[in-house]
């Protein structure tokens, strides 16, 4: 094993498998190296082939290259790729399964619908060429897909007449109809504006629960990752920096430099304690502290809700504030304070017990408040986003 292997292995967290021996369990084994020019990608990670795994990192970190290597489009790929024991790439054994024989479905950033076919034709293209296999894949029918993604009104439209969001939906449908054993989504939201993103998010959230295809979701947006993924593989400069459950990975401190540019955030898992009909609120319990959010109709008392809190929506105080319009104030301990001397900002991390919050405050405020690591602080949450996945 090379020194790089060791460095990377220790950076990984829960679930990182270092053993390369093939086991027929449901997992994607990746030990792949792609080099071109000054950039080289080397990722060694066993990923459970279940749920949604985000491949997360800044632009140029190798996310798309990793995806293309899984698809078989990177001719220079070396190493080993296997899904559930089926080997797609084993350069030592001379195995390199061509792209059209790998049971992977994918969507591309730009959609890549066939312009000479209408949406129905694009779906048919995938449908005809995929062989229904026993099990989950066989249950995917064209009608299911059309229904799940509301493609009915688009079927006789040509791709160039579709909006960006409609194009992504059609592309998702086409990928599903290839009845893949692994679904790769390459930044499906990146080409869309905020409103279109909001339009397509519910479809993405519903996708995995409905079709159950193991999914790799490539993204550089932490809010998408927080909402969609069960676990996260963090890439930077062509290496795996961390791997583990979404909540733990996004809390990790050493990710700060990676995520700062992309709207850092923390994910909290809280339990529904009571619904308030009068003010249309839902009260949540977070390690004994109370939070209120706009009423969550689909969650029953006792169920857990996942909350995304962006660091720019968190303010800090050294005393519990007198009444304000901000409903949610959590007490905790300041555990780190990163000051970026080149900007006006500092990134603070607050420990709440079993969760950590991040706050982006100005360095001036940090100085005025006399914030010190280890001292108690109060976090004021201006806004909280809710993962609506549960209960769909």
């Amino acid at each position: 094993m090379s020194p790089e292997h060791d460095a990377m292995g220790s950076a990984g967290t829960a679930g990182s498998g270092t053993a390369a021996s093939p086991k027929p369990e449901a997992r994607l084994e990746v030990d792949v190296r792609v080099a071109f020019g000054a950039f080289d990608l080397h990722v060694e990670q066993a990923i459970p082939a279940a749920g949604v795994t985000a491949v997360f990192g800044p632009s140029g970190s190798g996310k798309t290259t990793l995806l293309r290597s899984l698809l078989g489009f990177e001719a220079g790929s070396r190493g080993r790729i296997a899904l559930n024991g089926d080997v797609w790439l084993d350069s030592e054994a001379g195995v390199d399964v061509p792209p059209h024989r790998r049971p992977v479905g994918c969507t591309f950033q730009d959609g890549r619908l066939f312009p000479h076919l209408d949406v129905a034709g694009n779906l048919r293209y995938a449908d005809r060429r995929s062989t229904p296999e026993p099990g989950v894949e066989a249950s995917i029918t064209r009608d299911d897909v059309v229904d799940a993604l509301d493609l009915g009104p688009l079927l006789d439209r040509r791709p160039h007449t579709l909006s960006g969001g409609e194009r992504q939906r059609a592309a998702l449908g086409r990928a599903l109809l290839s009845r893949p054993r692994l679904l790769l989504l390459d930044e499906p939201l990146s080409a869309l504006d905020r409103r279109r993103k909001a339009e397509i998010m519910p479809y993405l959230l519903a996708l995995h629960p409905r079709f159950g295809i193991p999914t790799l979701y490539v993204s550089h947006a932490v809010d998408e990752v927080a909402l969609l993924a069960d676990r996260v593989l963090v890439l930077a400069e062509g290496r795996a920096q961390a791997f583990g459950g979404t909540v733990e990975v996004l809390e990790q401190l050493d990710l700060a430099p990676l995520t700062e540019r992309f709207r850092a955030a923390a994910v909290l898992e809280a339990t529904v304690s009571v619904h308030d009909d009068e003010y249309r609120l839902t009260w949540l319990d977070l390690d004994g502290q109370r939070l209120s959010v706009p009423r969550i109709d689909h969650l029953a008392v006792g169920e857990s809700a996942r909350l995304l809190v962006r660091s720019r929506d968190v303010s800090l105080a050294t005393e519990r504030p007198s009444p304000t319009s901000i409903r949610n104030v959590l007490s905790g301990v300041l555990v780190s304070l990163h000051q970026d001397e080149s900007t006006a900002f500092a990134e603070a991390t607050v420990d709440l017990g079993s969760h950590r919050l991040r706050a982006r405050i100005t360095r001036a405020s940090a100085a005025e408040l006399g914030l010190a690591v280890g001292s108690p602080v109060f976090a004021l949450l201006k806004s909280v986003s809710l993962d609506t996945r549960a209960g769909r």
Partner: protein, 225 residues
């Protein structure tokens, strides 16, 4: 005005149509290979393909004549197999036309294939389409304009060839006397009226074909990847 015999016109159309069909079959895979290869041979093959554009027709015709003569390996083989000579025959004209018009088929097709980019083909591969399947169902339909342009250029260029035909085919009525040779012959023998009829007919034909192509080309949907 005396009517010229229509034999040469008919022969030219036959030759041009045959050359276009043969070149569609041979030129398409060549253009496809050129558009996708990273081989170091690519510039060499491209240069060979483009040679007929820059060589004087007489040079090309001269070497083709040597190649097709019964004493060369190709001409000799042809005599053995068919019992006829390749030179001064329609088959010989066809071989010469295919080589002479090669760049007019390959270059527009190669440009069309290259402009597709890798996107549509990767999308097809990810949907389990084999390379041949992806070519037939995605690349070819998206390159319709390229096929149309290449076919029309090949056809028209073959109709208009003169030097190579004269070198390889000579001037045998009904066999190798194509329209351009017939016009030349009429002019040489001072039968200007017949030359005029044929020449004006060819001019009109070329114009009509080109108008048709431009109109049709505009109707074909533009595919933006």
């Amino acid at each position: 005005m005396s009517l010229p015999e229509l034999g040469p016109l008919w022969l030219s159309l036959q030759l041009a149509a045959s050359a276009t069909v043969v070149l569609l079959v041979l030129g398409t895979p060549l253009a496809w290979w050129l558009s996708g290869t990273r081989s170091r041979l690519k510039p060499v093959v491209e240069a060979v393909t483009a040679l007929p554009l820059v060589l004087p027709p007489t040079v090309l015709g001269f070497y083709l004549l040597l190649l097709m003569s019964p004493r060369s390996w190709l001409g000799g083989l042809w005599v053995e197999v068919t019992d006829t000579t390749l030179t001064f025959s329609f088959a010989g004209l066809l071989v010469a036309s295919v080589i002479y018009s090669l760049p007019f088929m390959v270059q527009p097709l190669q440009a069309a294939f290259e402009s597709l980019g890798r996107g549509p083909l990767e999308a097809a591969a990810a949907l389990r389409a084999s390379p041949l399947d992806a070519f037939l169902t995605v690349a070819a339909p998206l390159s319709l304009r390229g096929f149309l342009t290449a076919s029309v250029l090949t056809f028209a260029h073959t109709i208009g060839e003169f030097g190579v035909v004269l070198m390889v085919g000579g001037n045998i009525p009904g066999k190798t006397r194509v329209i351009s040779i017939a016009i030349y012959e009429h002019v040489e023998t001072l039968r200007y009226a017949e030359a005029h009829t044929l020449a004006a007919g060819l001019l009109l034909f070329a114009f009509v074909v080109l108008v048709f192509v431009y109109v049709f080309n505009r109707r074909l949907p533009v595919h933006v990847a």
